[in-house]
């Protein structure tokens, strides 16, 4: 335990902190019709015998007592033809052959190469139940279909774990302060925390839901660059406040109330460009928070006009460290070719956390030419930076956090195996809240699904309780997935997975390299 050596005048949060229990509760989808992978049609041949109700263990077919006709089927729980093996396939068992099952053609329009329809549905399922989706659903949710990076990397699981461990024996916590500089240690219970999404880019309900889930899992959420909402104060101890190039809402007191302060030098979705909030989303509340004018687009500058060198960066760090004597400092950077040098520079300037945001990260709005086209995907950057920090002999003095396109527990585990200590997630939390990735976060007042919006009416679609529960459930399912991965390798700590590239294979390679163990 590192001894805290803090001056007397060190401030902490001044408001009582909220407690949120880590309890999984069902959080059913908020829409009337769930998007189902399979569609079942019932023809006029049906004689209402009820056989289908009897055979289906999932409860797809609904014949309510006292009703003569079937209610609309619960298609979203249908697991498709895979129940043929267990002899529950209603289509075959219907005596009248009145049922027909097809794969939902809408699946083609849901999602994209990175977030496939299966992955979105599986994330919704996890957010609903708090459990990894049961295998019988057949969701291919561990990987997307982008044809590279995480989507082509797999774990080489042994046939049998070298050590049999129970889930309770496996530790997924992560220490964020490795500098031994007198600042307090901060250990989070899961190796991830929530990414910065400003009030303005997302609704305050979304921000609060993220914050409550962060408390439940003893991890963090981040304010983004849009200022520190008063309603976030009860979550100060689990909030990272961001100092970005726009400096919106950055005040001494907001720096002093938190345990981690993050500098945003760049963002993976739009490297080399500053934040971008289009006019329609700058409502009076957003404008007030950011101390700007309603209805005027906000383009944060790039870069920090006070930082043109690592020495300038150190001045920034010292400034924050002076204002808040107990805070850890993180620097969020993008992933250019020299990201390894940048990382070492950030470390040497005194940061506790180096946060790399890869080119495939999310955003509220970015020019299409910046997405994908500037800076490298996170998979490369992790390997590069981990190796370089190791060679420089400082790898264990800094926490390396990766983000930018991490979608589930498998991505998280792969990122750690490639060399990161932990990760930051963003889009997945929004998907848990019902995002379909239609990319309309920027248009008008924002998201038609009521997530990335500043419109009060749109935001009303989600309640804080439901939102928090969905994210808590998602985190819980992820933790179970992660624990399962560690269990299969017989590992007691997630930290033991770090840099274990020998446990990975790439489908496009011959995997013929001898690894030092």
């Amino acid at each position: 335990m590192v001894k805290e050596n803090l001056p007397d005048n060190t401030l902490k949060t001044l408001v009582p902190q909220a407690e949120v229990p880590r309890v999984v509760k069902p959080a059913p989808p908020r829409y009337r019709n769930e998007i189902a992978k399979y569609i079942i049609r019932r023809s006029d041949n049906c004689r209402l015998c009820g056989k289908c109700v009897e055979v289906c263990p999932q409860g797809v077919h609904v014949l309510k007592e006292g009703y003569k006709y079937f209610a609309a089927p619960h298609q979203h729980v249908c697991i498709g033809p895979s129940c043929q093996v267990t002899g529950h396939y209603c289509v075959d068992l219907c005596p009248q052959k009145a049922l027909r099952m097809v794969e939902n053609p809408m699946m083609k329009l849901l999602g994209d190469y990175r977030w496939t329809a299966d992955m979105i549905l599986a994330t919704w399922k996890m957010a609903e139940t708090g459990e990894p989706p049961p295998p019988e659903y057949g969701y291919e949710y561990e990987c997307g279909n982008s044809g590279g990076g995480f989507d082509r990397i797999r774990f080489k699981f042994p046939d049998k774990p070298p050590v049999e461990l129970s889930a309770d024996e496996i530790d997924t916590s992560l220490e964020l302060n490795r500098r031994n500089d007198g600042r307090p240690p901060i250990r989070i219970d899961v190796p991830w925390y929530g990414g910065g999404m400003s009030f303005g880019s997302v609704s305050n309900v979304t921000q609060l839901s993220k914050a409550r889930a962060a408390v439940a899992f003893n991890t963090f959420t981040c304010t983004g660059e849009g200022g520190y909402m008063e309603r976030l104060r009860p979550y100060d101890d689990h909030t990272i406040t961001q100092v970005a190039t726009g400096l919106f809402g950055v005040r001494e007191e907001t720096i002093q109330r938190v345990r981690i302060v993050e500098f945003k030098y760049a963002q993976g979705a739009k490297p080399g460009l500053g934040g971008h909030l289009l006019a329609d989303k700058v409502t009076s509340a957003v404008a007030k928070m950011r101390e700007t004018v309603m209805g005027i687009s906000l383009f944060s500058p790039f870069p920090f006009h006070s930082v043109y060198s690592i020495e300038d960066h150190k001045k920034h760090m010292d400034w924050i460290k002076h204002i808040n004597r107990r805070a850890l400092v993180s620097a969020k950077v993008s992933t250019p070719i020299d990201v390894d040098m940048v990382a070492v520079g950030i470390y040497s300037a005194g940061a506790h956390i180096v946060h790399m945001d890869g080119g495939y990260g999310g955003t509220g709005a970015a020019p299409d030419i910046a997405k994908k086209n500037i800076a490298m995907p996170i998979e490369y950057a992790i390997v590069k930076v981990h190796d370089f920090l190791t060679r420089e002999g400082v790898r264990d003095k800094v926490t390396l956090i990766a983000s930018g396109g991490l979608r589930n527990a498998h991505d998280i585990a792969k990122a750690i195996a490639l060399g990161a200590d932990g990760v930051v997630v963003g889009t997945a939390e929004l998907v848990a809240l019902g995002c379909v990735r239609c990319s309309r976060c920027e248009s008008g007042r924002g998201c038609p699904r009521g997530i990335a919006t500043t419109d009060a009416e749109l935001a009303e679609q989600i309640s804080v309780e439901w939102g928090s529960q969905r994210i808590i459930n998602l985190y819980s399912a992820w933790r179970k997935d992660l624990v399962d991965i560690l269990r299969r390798f017989g590992m007691r700590n997630v930290s033991g997975l770090r840099g274990r590239t020998d446990l990975l294979m790439h489908l496009d390679y011959n995997n013929d390299v001898e690894h030092k163990k």
Binding site: Y31, R32, N33, I35, A72, P105, M106, L109, Y113, R114, G147, G148, D151, Y265, A269, P271, G272, L273, L278, F302, P303, Y308, D312, V333, S334, I337, V342, G359, Y360, A366, P367, D368, I369, A370, K371, N373, I374, A375, M376, E379, Y380, V383, T427, C438, S439, R440, C441, E442, S443, G444, P448, L458, T501, L504, H506, D508, Y509, N510, D512, V513
Partner: protein, 469 residues
């Protein structure tokens, strides 16, 4: 300080119904008439717009495809009747290279002149063929030496076309040999002739007007000159004649006011260039080299000839090598030419233009990074006119965009908007790189990342050799 280069734009609405990615299918027969979809679910108000659209419909076969794909109505429909369906017309747009996404974004840029902006992250493949296999790079902490501290308004996109001497010798205060002629244009882009399958004579005056309005240059086949009006002379600074192998040399009066002429490659190029230079010594002459199986070697060979000033490398419309079984992509071929000239120490003396497969603003930036001084485009301008990029142009009403009927104001406006949007995107990406001059972007592979190189440097170490070579 010289005037800032700015292209004047104004929105030019589409003339045809938008062809979106998805449409909503509803089965009216079981509809509860609750109007949830109309009144509540669709925040974009598309149902009401659709009703209005259908009321004013001229063509009965036109559908309303403005759906934004948010699934809200599908999920909120009282009876669960609604479904999104992929729009087959959208899926048929373009070809394997000119994807529906490229065509759609070109349309919207031509309409608004704005940089396309969207939310959420990147949705596409990790990497892929062609330009998708490279990333431009940015500068994390923009060093003052990389010019980034200056604002975007200081980024210059001007380029010079012509041969440059390796060094200039002075006699007191005058260069001893004089300077070779060069043409400067405010943006690294030239309007190329349309490929044979897409040649529409009525567009030539429109291209000319676009070249004038944007301050750029259009290449025009000397045989098409009669499609332009009699006041040709005043536009000559914006026209570059292309002379095919047997084309006669244009009138002397025309050539004397021309800045740039392009000739087809052949055995007699020395003689052809001399002939042209005799008429107008201050003219720059480019040689058009088709990137076929011998294209790269031929370009390198030509670059070593003192008489050649500019080489225009042209791949097919998809950016592929011409007439070979396993074609290479234009970026790799241009990079090879560029690197060879760098090794020979003559890269700075010659101008390389590259055309074929430049479909998006990012391709422009990436092609420059791969070694071209400027690019030439044609099809994007055609697509700006709501073209679907069929296999070849069809006459009259068979053309889905009715391009033969467009008026000049619409055509010039759409194409100008597209070029302006590309210019803004070029500045955007240069700002991210911290580069202030587009001339310095040429061959600047330090500001780019290549899939193959990154894979080898990172995953190669971890996973060994890559399958299939």
């Amino acid at each position: 300080m010289p005037d800032k280069y700015r292209i004047k734009t104004q929105p030019v609405p589409s003339q045809h119904p938008r062809i979106g990615k998805c449409g909503v299918v509803d089965w009216r027969e079981d509809c509860a008439r609750c109007h949830n979809c109309v009144k509540k679910a669709c925040v974009f108000d598309r149902y009401r717009q659709e009703a209005e659209y259908i009321r004013g419909l001229r063509d009965m076969d036109a559908f309303f495809f403005q759906c934004m794909g948010c699934f809200s109505c599908v999920q909120q429909c009282t009876k669960g009747l609604l479904a999104l369906s992929p729009n087959p017309v959208y899926e048929r747009l373009g070809n394997r290279y000119w994807t529906p996404e490229i065509i759609e974004t070109t349309w919207s840029q031509a309409e608004t002149a704005k940089i396309p902006v969207s939310g959420a992250g990147y949705r596409g493949k990790f990497s892929g063929p062609g330009f998708v296999s490279m990333w431009t790079d940015m500068s994390e902490i923009v060093r003052p030496t990389r010019d980034g501290i200056h604002g975007r308004e200081y980024i210059s996109t001007a380029v010079d076309i012509g041969r440059k001497p390796p060094l200039i010798q002075f006699d007191v205060d005058k260069p001893t040999d004089g300077l070779s002629p060069f043409v400067d244009i405010p943006m690294p882009l030239i309007i190329d002739m349309m490929p044979p399958a897409y040649r529409l004579p009525n567009l030539i005056p429109i291209f000319k007007a676009v070249a004038v309005q944007t301050g750029l240059i259009m290449l025009i086949d000397s045989q098409d000159l009669d499609t332009l009006d009699n006041e040709l002379e005043q536009y000559l600074p914006h026209l570059a004649f292309y002379l095919g192998a047997d084309a006669p040399v244009p009138r002397k009066e025309l050539l004397q006011k021309t800045r740039l002429v392009e000739i087809s490659d052949g055995d007699n190029i020395d003689q052809r260039i001399k002939e042209l230079k005799n008429i107008q010594p201050d003219m720059v002459v480019a040689v058009r080299v088709e990137l076929d199986s011998r294209g790269v070697e031929r370009a390198i060979e030509l670059a070593h000839k003192q008489i050649v000033e500019v080489i225009h490398l042209v791949a097919d419309i998809n950016g592929d090598q011409i007439g070979v079984e396993k074609p290479r992509f234009i970026k790799d071929m241009v990079r090879q030419v560029h690197n060879s000239l760098v090794e020979s120490g003559i890269r700075n003396e010659i101008t390389l233009m590259a055309g074929g497969g430049i479909a998006l603003a990012e391709h422009l930036a990436k092609q420059l990074i791969c070694g071209a001084d400027l690019v030439t485009i044609n099809l994007p301008l055609l697509i700006a006119l709501e073209c679907h990029l069929c296999e070849s142009c069809k006459p009259g009403p068979s053309c889905p965009a009715r391009i033969e009927e467009i008026d000049s104001k619409y055509g010039v406006g759409r194409m100008t908007n597209l070029i302006a949007a590309w210019h803004d995107q070029l500045i955007e990406v240069m700002g991210a790189m911290g580069i202030r001059e587009v001339r310095r972007l040429r061959g600047e592979v330090g500001r780019a990342l290549f899939f193959e190189e990154l894979e080898e440097a990172t995953f190669g170490k971890l996973f060994g050799s890559r399958k299939n070579g």
